[in-house]
């Protein structure tokens, strides 16, 4: 339960093997575990299935496409209309080298929450009558039709927070929360990069965004600036 502290992002990936299914926190740049993504790139792990809000032009995740480490993505935002903003992921998708499962953003958040919270799925109206609904079960409740969306879990979640205490409690800041709190609940191994590791008790119990029970590994590492759009 008590988190283990690692010195470098590379050390924090100890034991991660090819074919791993990884959730990456973050929404555009805010809250993305950029140090861990770079470490995964250096590690050379292959056959990665990524679960993240966005992969595209300007995103650090695209770096995993440079040497074909990525096998596929489950995400909400993968390609841009403008050809000038095509990414390596786009190119590999067009060539059939990677797979893509697109899911609406609210459904994405809720599927992860279901995966982490022991629920069997999500009943939502989002996506009904669209390509997202193809091949999926619909269920009627009180005269309304809902799409049944399945839970999402991963082997590893890589997330970012502002501070962690040595027990593993996390404090988030601003819009850098996004998918990090739900992802922290939905993976077998949760690795967190933070601006600062503090003593137990230094984070106000009222401000803990992810309780320590969810966190396995923490690592203090200055954030890598993300270019704004």
């Amino acid at each position: 339960m008590t988190a283990t502290i690692y010195d470098t992002p590379d050390d924090a990936l100890d034991g991660i093997t090819d074919g791993v299914r990884v959730m990456f926190g973050g929404f555009s740049g805010a809250g993305a575990p950029t140090n861990l993504i770079r470490a995964l790139r250096r590690r050379g792990t292959r056959g990665i299935t990524g679960i993240a809000n966005n992969i595209g032009y300007g995103d650090f995740l695209v770096e995993l496409c440079e040497d074909g480490q990525l096998a596929g993505m489950i995400c909400t935002f993968a390609t841009r209309a403008s050809v000038a903003l095509r990414s390596r992921f786009d190119e590999q998708l067009a060539r059939g080298e990677v797979t893509l499962e697109l899911t609406p953003q609210g459904t994405f958040a809720e599927r992860i929450r279901a995966g982490g919270g022991g629920l069997g799925g999500v009943l939502t109206r989002s996506g009904l009558g669209t390509p997202v609904a193809e091949g999926k079960t619909t269920i009627e409740v009180d005269g309304e039709t809902y799409l049944l969306e399945r839970p999402l879990r991963a082997d590893v979640a890589m997330i970012r927070a502002q501070r962690a205490d040595r027990l593993g409690n996390l404090e988030y800041r601003g819009a850098a929360r996004n998918f990090n709190p739900v992802m922290a609940t939905a993976a077998d191994l949760v690795i967190v990069e933070v601006d600062e590791i503090v003593e137990v008790g230094a984070i106000d119990p009222e401000r803990v965004g992810t309780p320590a029970v969810f966190v396995d590994r923490i690592m203090q590492c200055p954030r890598i600036p993300v270019p704004f759009r």
Binding site: S28, A30, Q105, P131, G174, A175, R229
Partner: protein, 226 residues
């Protein structure tokens, strides 16, 4: 027949801004909707929701605007650095979309590719290879109490974006309440499109000619006041 030019993108945004009333919670989609705030009075009394986890979004910040460092934890859903309004709050994505799906966002202003007479909206593209981007649009379109679509009335080659049925993949079914285009303000009601306002210098006949579905004329059909 070539459709008249009608409004600029900025004027479409201005017309959309007129739909917003103090006290409303509003989510603005990427693209033309992001032009709306610059056409609001300073005391607009709105709360802007950003689906990445902010209620009380302020203005977009330009780099080096003299107001200090840009905050990398304070971005809007389009990834742009923003300010906060007084009374703002932060929350995670699960909470943000509970807010959206649960009908707590009053108005979503979305861009569009096509709107059908039954209110169906298509505003994303699926490529042959399966590529595409949904983002929060499906949840916003089906969850917001009121959906306003801001878009050009016709495509570059003159085809209508207002149709009997969408030919592009849908974003959500029967979700659109109002369409504001360069030519007109059109409500989507039970019976189909209702022409409410025409752009200055544009006639109802010209709007109908640019629309691939029948337009009923509102009893108080008038020219837009801009």
């Amino acid at each position: 027949m070539t459709a008249p030019q009608g409004l600029t993108r900025e004027l479409i945004a201005l017309r959309v801004a007129r739909e917003l009333r103090p006290g409303m919670v509003v989510n603005l989609g990427i693209g033309m909707p992001t032009l709306v705030p610059s056409h609001l009075p300073p005391d607009h009394g709105l709360l802007f929701q950003s689906e990445n986890g902010i209620l009380g979004l302020g203005a977009v910040r330009e780099g080096g605007d003299g107001y200090g460092e840009i905050d990398p934890d304070l971005l809007n859903a389009g990834g742009q650095p923003v300010r906060l309004a007084l009374g703002a709050s932060f929350f995670d994505s699960a909470t943000s979309f509970a807010m959206i799906r649960g009908g707590h966002v009053h108005t979503a202003v979305l861009g569009g590719l096509q709107v059908a007479a039954n209110g169906d909206l298509a505003n994303w593209t699926v490529r042959q290879d399966g590529g595409g981007s949904i983002g929060g649009a499906m949840d916003l379109a089906s969850g917001a109490q009121r959906v306003i679509v801001a878009m050009e009335h016709t495509t570059r080659d003159g085809g209508s974006r207002l149709l009997e049925r969408c030919t592009y993949p849908l974003t959500a079914q029967a979700c659109v309440d109002l369409v504001v285009t360069n030519l007109a303000v059109i409500a989507v009601e039970a019976g189909g499109f209702v022409l409410r306002e025409v752009a200055p210098g544009v006639t109802a006949a010209q709007v109908q000619a640019a629309t691939d579905a029948p337009l009923a004329l509102a009893p108080d059909l008038r020219e837009m006041a801009l």
